[in-house]
Symmetry: C2
């Protein structure tokens, strides 16, 4: 079973990397971009076909390792 | 207008970071994960409300800066 975990910064948390990308896009002449925030995405292949169990495993993985839940939100999707 | 650009490694490109995450999940006792591949996500706020123009701007941004199209695929979504 395939799944995707998307990790994004919480609202209000500064994102210097996103700010740098904004600046770089401006320098490259890409107009119309108001703001950029960068996050991470994990494409995960799971053994077994139980969806409920898969969601529990992904939540555990996100809480323990993939996301820093103090400053980041995550979203789990079974693809 | 809000948009999301998701950048993922092409199939066949080695992902040592993903491999490291797999190993770390195993060490942490998270079972049932067969493989992990890491990508990037960019949440972009665009000025103006023209969807066609927005898609063109995002494609340009991805080609010029956000993705290395030699080894990465990207997907543009208007949210």
């Amino acid at each position: 079973m395939k799944a995707r975990v998307t990790v994004t910064l919480k609202t209000g948390i500064l994102d210097p990397q996103g700010k740098a990308i904004e600046g770089a896009l401006k320098s490259l002449g890409v107009d119309g971009v108001a703001s950029v925030r960068q996050g991470k995405v994990f494409d995960i292949e799971l053994a077994g076909g139980d969806k409920t169990k898969a969601e529990a495993v992904l939540k555990e993985a996100a809480d323990k390792l993939l996301a820093n839940t103090v400053i980041e939100n995550y979203r789990v999707e079974i693809v």
